[in-house]
């Protein structure tokens, strides 16, 4: 019997093997379609079922079907843009990991920069206000009070 630790380690190794390793082997990359190009295209597309996975990584059945569609289209000589358009026409911009710039995505693209600009403005305002406060220094009345307090202190210490 294997030691417990070894068995756990083997189980871990088995589970970490990519489950989709076999599916790319289903396709024939000796013809029109280059494997690297195909992989690049399906990695840029998002699976609708497991939403945090790309078409390349997902084992959902729809992802398998769409991988096959993409392969067929590439094999038929379609350009990357045509393939992306095909998917966007059916599933929307959601399938793109790199969403296009248009009014409905302005917030997505520019939001962070607007926030950063706002933060800079607030920071600039605060810093300027603080430094101005230091420059102004003390008023005449305050100076007199400081002087009297200081002299008071020395007198007390002497006595």
């Amino acid at each position: 019997m294997l030691p417990r630790l070894l068995r756990v380690a083997l189980l871990g190794l088995a589970m970490s093997m990519p489950a989709h390793a076999s599916t790319l082997a289903d396709f024939d990359f000796t013809g029109n379609v280059s494997e690297a190009h195909y992989k690049a295209v399906i990695s840029e597309l998002r699976c609708l079922v497991c939403q945090n996975e790309s078409l390349a990584g997902s084992q959902a059945e729809l992802a398998q079907d769409l991988r096959e569609e993409v392969y067929k289209m590439m094999d038929a000589g379609k350009t990357d843009d045509e393939i992306v358009d095909f998917l966007v026409a059916r599933y929307g911009d959601f399938v793109l990991y790199d969403p296009p710039l248009k009014p409905s995505t302005w917030l997505l693209w520019f939001g962070p920069f607007v926030l950063a600009a706002l933060a800079l403005l607030v920071m600039g305002y605060t810093v300027r206000k603080r430094s101005r406060g230091v420059e102004q220094g003390l008023t005449a009345a305050e100076r007199a009070r400081v002087a009297s307090l200081l002299s008071e202190g020395t007198e007390n210490r002497k006595s």
Binding site: L48, V49, Q51, E61, L62, D65, L66, E69, V88, A89, R90, Y91, G92, F94, V122
Partner: protein
């Protein structure tokens, strides 16, 4: 208020809470369909019950109808089935079905056991027509107007609320329009 700037963190906090609350209540599974407002995708498939006959886009034009994507392996399809039956009984709208990546015998048994709310079903064996309809999670239900234009899409199982508040009012509105 003497120092209005002190209000800024409170305002930022409130805005964040509102945005996060809205975000949490959105359903990330509901991806808006680009097909809404467009004519139904062209297709022609064999019918589930009568494989010799076909069902296609032409059958979905002419009158307001629902197009329901389902399968026997889809658990939530079972959940919405009663509602489809009830809806079919009212006779308010024709329900067509797309039997998606299913087994023909299993699907026929399902309709026999649980009842058949459909006018007819298209049998989409390999899911190719499903892709053209942008199907990604069964069940899905499309509302199609008399001109064969997709007006609405429900992703996931129908509920009584969805039927009464979204589907039926839309069907009546489309019917009254012409």
């Amino acid at each position: 208020m003497k120092r209005p700037l002190l209000l800024i963190p409170a305002i930022v906090f409130t805005v964040m809470v509102v945005l996060l609350a809205v975000g949490l209540n959105l359903n990330p599974r509901e991806v808006p369909s680009p097909l809404i407002g467009k004519p139904v995708p062209g297709f022609e498939l064999s019918r589930l019950k009568d494989p010799q006959a076909t069902l296609g886009s032409a059958d979905l034009t002419g009158r307001v109808s629902l197009f329901n994507v389902w399968a026997t392996w889809c658990v939530s399809c079972r959940a919405e089935h009663k509602l489809l039956m009830a809806l079919a009984e009212t006779g308010e709208v024709d329900i067509y079905g797309l039997n998606y990546k299913d087994d023909r015998d299993a699907a026929l048994r399902w309709l026999q056991v649980y009842g058949d709310p459909y006018v007819a079903n298209a049998f989409d064996d390999d899911g190719r027509v499903g892709i053209d309809w942008g199907v990604y999670g069964t069940p899905e239900t499309f509302v199609i107007d008399g001109e064969g234009v997709i007006r609405h899409k429900v992703i996931g199982p129908l509920s009584a609320d969805i039927v009464n508040e979204r589907i039926l009012p839309l069907v009546r509105q489309l019917n009254s329009r012409g």
